[in-house]
């Protein structure tokens, strides 16, 4: 993997200006402006339906903008990791076959020696040695996630896009995954991911963009993740707490009711 900062002369990897996109006359994205620089590890957060996945799709080029522009640095290689929930795990492919799909420059089934070596290298890099001939459905949740990252890495991407990589994974797996992404970034791969995991973002990601159809805020995580920005993004009150040097984001309790349901004493009084 080459360091993307080596030869780009400071040009951003992705420059999105005034992006607007609608579906069935319903706006999904409006006047989105976002820059992804080489070396970024950027989390995109926002409520369901905020346009996070759509934004990634405009970067990959599978969706074209109705308004504005998405400019990619010349020759930019993108690796895309979809949501694992969308994968058909009964599909008859082995780990090796799944990873080799990414090498679209070669069309035949059988890999070259160079491809075999590249697959072995990326499997070892992601701790998947010895699993090349296993069916993808036979792997654990963490291994399955890493197979799809391995497939994206086989393209030697400058920019890795991950759609909800922390969705539906347990705490240990989430930590493992976010540490892996930090490592990949330190090796020169720029990363953009969408997530609902605000605490994971607060702990592991240096930059964040809050989106709800448009970019509400974008910048260093510590300055962006505050109560005002989160309320503007999610339309719900949230508190940002500092604990042992870490930033924690919690839902604010409802002003009139207990978050744990009606007051049992009040219910008893009414019953009497």
């Amino acid at each position: 993997m080459s360091n993307p900062t080596d030869n780009n002369g400071g040009q951003p990897l992705v420059q999105i200006q005034g992006l607007g996109l609608s579906h069935d006359r319903q706006p999904i994205l409006e006047d989105v402006n976002l820059i992804v620089e080489a070396g970024d590890l950027l989390g995109i957060v926002g409520p369901s339906g905020a346009g996070k996945t759509t934004l990634l799709r405009t970067i990959t080029g599978t969706l074209g903008p109705d308004k504005g522009s998405v400019a990619l640095r010349s020759g930019l290689q993108i690796g895309y990791v979809p949501q694992v929930e969308s994968v058909n795990w009964n599909f008859p492919v082995t780990v090796r076959q799944c990873i080799l799909m990414a090498r679209t420059s070669r069309r035949f089934a059988w890999p070259t020696n160079a491809e075999k070596a590249a697959v072995s290298e990326v499997l070892a890099r992601l701790g998947l040695d010895g699993l090349a001939d296993r069916h993808i459905g036979d792997l654990s949740g963490g291994q399955q996630q890493r197979v799809f990252i391995a497939r994206a890495l086989l393209r030697s991407p400058d920019l890795l896009l991950l759609d909800e990589p922390t969705s539906g994974v347990d705490v240990a797996l989430r930590h493992e995954l976010l540490h892996l992404l930090e490592e990949l970034r330190s090796e020169g791969t720029s990363i953009v991911l969408t997530t609902h995991d605000l605490n994971g973002v607060a702990t592991h990601l240096p930059t964040v963009a809050c989106i709800n159809r448009t970019i509400i805020a974008h910048g260093p995580t510590r300055s962006v993740l505050n109560s005002q920005t989160l309320e503007a993004t999610y339309g719900a009150s949230m508190q940002v707490l500092e604990h042992a040097g870490m930033r924690l984001i919690v839902d604010s309790p409802h002003h009139t009711h207990s978050p744990f349901g009606p007051d049992p004493d009040a219910l008893l009084e009414r019953a009497e």
Binding site: T62, P92, Q97, M101
Partner: protein, 277 residues
Amino acid sequence: MIDELLRPFAFEFFRNGLIVATLAGALCGLVGVYIVVRGMSYLAHGLSHAIFGGFAASALLGVSFLLGAGVWGIASALAITSVTRRRPIGADAAIGVVTTASFALGLILFALFGHSGASFDAALFGSVLGVSLTSVIVIAIVSVLVVAIVSFAYRPLLFTTFDPEVAAASGLRTTRIEALLMVVFAISILVSMQVLGVTLIAAALVIPPTIARLLTSSFSQMLILSSAIGATCGFIGMNLSYHLDVQSGPGIVIVAACAFLVVYAIKRPIGMQRAAA
């Protein structure tokens, strides 16, 4: 006994029919893999019915069956692809609309202008009679062509079938690849229809891949196994149909169905094995 088994080989029509049935079995087994792994088994049933409309129209117009039904089949396949892309219509509904309309049109054309004799039955259930050397040559050419496409475009076809969104994001022209696959399906069904028949060709497209899936979790192995199973079922089924004096389609399909039952009994789904352990 051996003499009795070899007796039909003395007839040219049977030898031609046997070659076509074996090649049709292999061809349907090969392309059927792409249909089964997409969960589009209904497509196999629908597309063959759609082609029946073309069969009736070509009989009416007096043009070559391969030309008339071929154009009709490819148009139906592309129409399905086009309708599917328009949300919120799903693939199953698109197949239902396009193919049943085409089949109904074929039935009307036959009722108004055609003749419901031997050719009508042959179209529905398959027939070894009338399999000419030309039929052998046509299916041989189509088989070579389809094997070449599946081999040369193996990774793009697999990527688009498995993960169309990421395939498109990786620069593959998935719309074109989808259209190519649909044309391959239509042509394969077209050249196999003569011996398998409209009503039973879906079994030749679905059963061999399903058996192969029980035997392997590797896509490339599934392609090879499914083709081999399809060819074997075509060969044995054609012989069976001669000796039982039944149409070729049912003979081939019943052999495939028996093969499925045997393999299913031996290779129970993994979940069942674990439950029994």
